[in-house]
């Protein structure tokens, strides 16, 4: 299970790096989504993987009986997903607004903040 997860994380990261190396900000964002999922899986896997043992306390007991899955990484991943979702929503809105105003999301052509030396002012 761990090795499979590691492979998935590796594949996601490789794909995301490939996407993020492009000039298009949209593709960069798609790469970022993949990377953020890879990171979430990393956190999840680093909490150790336990198969078929939900972190539930049986009725009447005050601690789980036997070995159960680690609930903390799940809480962390949940937080990270929510935060990542918010940030990506903002980034997508930003990309849309930039496209609407400038007609491009190609980062080579977006030179408004740092115009080239010979560009007219």
């Amino acid at each position: 299970m761990e090795s499979l997860t590691a492979l998935i994380i590796g594949a996601l990261t490789a794909a995301s790096v490939y996407m993020m190396l492009t000039r298009s900000f949209m593709r960069f964002l798609f790469g970022l989504i993949l990377l953020s999922n890879a990171v979430n899986l990393t956190i999840f896997a680093s909490g150790r993987m336990t198969k078929g043992a939900p972190a539930l306390v049986p009725y009447g007991a005050d601690a789980p009986l036997g070995i159960v899955g680690n609930a903390l990484p799940q809480a962390l991943v949940l937080t990270a997903i929510v935060i990542g979702f918010g940030l990506l929503a903002f980034a997508l809105a930003l990309a849309f607004e930039a496209f609407r105003r400038t007609g491009t999301v190609d980062t080579d052509e977006l030179r408004y903040a740092e115009p080239k030396e010979d560009a007219p002012k």
């Binding site: 993020m20 900000f25 960069f28 970022l32 990377l35 953020s36 890879a38 990171v39 990393t42 956190i43 896997a45 680093s46 909490g47 150790r48 903390l72 990484p73 962390l76 937080t79 990270a80 935060i83 918010g86 940030l87 903002f90 980034a91 930003l94 990309a95 607004e97 930039a98 105003r101 400038t102 999301v105 980062t107 977006l110 030179r111 408004y112 903040a113 740092e114 002012k121």
Partner: protein
Amino acid sequence: MSWVLVMPIAVPFATAVVAYLARNFPAGRWISVAGSALSLIVSALLMIAVLDQGVIAAQMSNWSAPFGITLVADYLSAVMVVITAITGLATAIYALGEIPESTERLGFHALFQTLIAGVTGAFLTGDLFNLYVWFEVMLIASFSLLVIGGGKERLDAGIKYVALNLVSTLVFLSGIGLLYGVTGTLNMADLRGAVAAAENQGLITVIAMMFMVGFGVKAAVFPLFFWLPASYHTPYFAISAVFAGLLTKVGVYALMRMFTLVFVGDVGFTHEILLWVSLLTMFTGVIGAAAQMDFRKILSFHIISQIGYMTLGLALYTPLALMGGVFYLVHHIIVKANLFFVAGLAKQYTGDTDLTRIGGLYKSAPLLAALFIIPAFSLAGFPPLSGFWAKYLIVKAAIELDYWFVAFVSLLVGLLTIYSMTKIWGYAFWKPHPEGYDPTPDRAPARVTTAMITPIAALAAMTIVIGFYPEPFVQFAQTAANQLLDPSDYVTTVLGVQP
């Protein structure tokens, strides 16, 4: 005691909510100022409590450490919280003059207060994952503040800023995940022991480097600083001042915290890298500034250059060097925010920030000229201003270690800083205003310029006070440095507190 720790975070958040509700009324901006003043008061109370009792900690929701979220304040955290509140108040007052009503209606003050809350939270938390959350609070507020008001320039800058900061956040987050995998804890005080006890020290060093990259992007160190000069010259001046003063320093603070508290197993390796990174940061920053001809772009590159001094204090890793680093951190926030404020007022007077298009400020605004001299020469390290003591401590620490090259680079960078500052002085203040470029010195109503010059004067006064009377500040920095180098108080306070 927990309310002392919670209030500096809760007050800006509450202010944000109220300011958002009142965003359509002129009262909204005064709520922001009042909230910032209240933040300063509660931060001062925190400082008094820390001075009185040493390190203080509180367990949120009574979950005892290391399981719950801990808020903890030692000397470094306390002084950072106070300086954040001071910068916040100065910016809130400055914003009264600068920010147009249309931007206020978009919720400017609410975003600004959220930013302050995020920064304060990052300084106070004792939990690594919680630190990530505060970083995100700070980031999302800063994203919005950067692009608020619109315009192609801001959108372009926003894209670069957002992209690089998101990547750095993910590096930081995966570092957290791996560190949790190795040690099984996320409480920073608990991590100190857990990291030292970890079997696989090689892996710990790898994780340490991930943290260095993640925080390094935030702090804008070489070679990760490209987002900073691409974006800091575009937003409102009040915003670039608070970014310049506070945001990169959160990265520096996080580096200082993690690389004195947690990652101290292989100092020879990690801090050696940090040393070279610092020197290159200092040098490339100041050279970059020399090539620029825009008021704010010059200042942006100088942020990078100055960050190098702070991380250098950490990299040398002696009591004196860290003391210099802490002193530098505090001095720099005041000075840098102030310089951006000055740039904003200079634009009010002359209509631009491009140095070739403006001039004559010495004649048309003598008070501003006097107030520019103070932070500018403090930045360059002239005695008796605050920057002199900051540089003096760092250089002395380098010489004590016989790192002559480091001392040489520090002084050289100081010299080149003077070059940039005299360039601004010569072009913006001394040279007559060029023909044909908006020579209307009095376009702004008095209400606006008063609101903008008050914080400039107040921060300049603080620079002078620290400069002429550095003794208590240096002693404070010394205690802070000692706490960083020997965090046993920190660890016992966090782990020993019973809910």
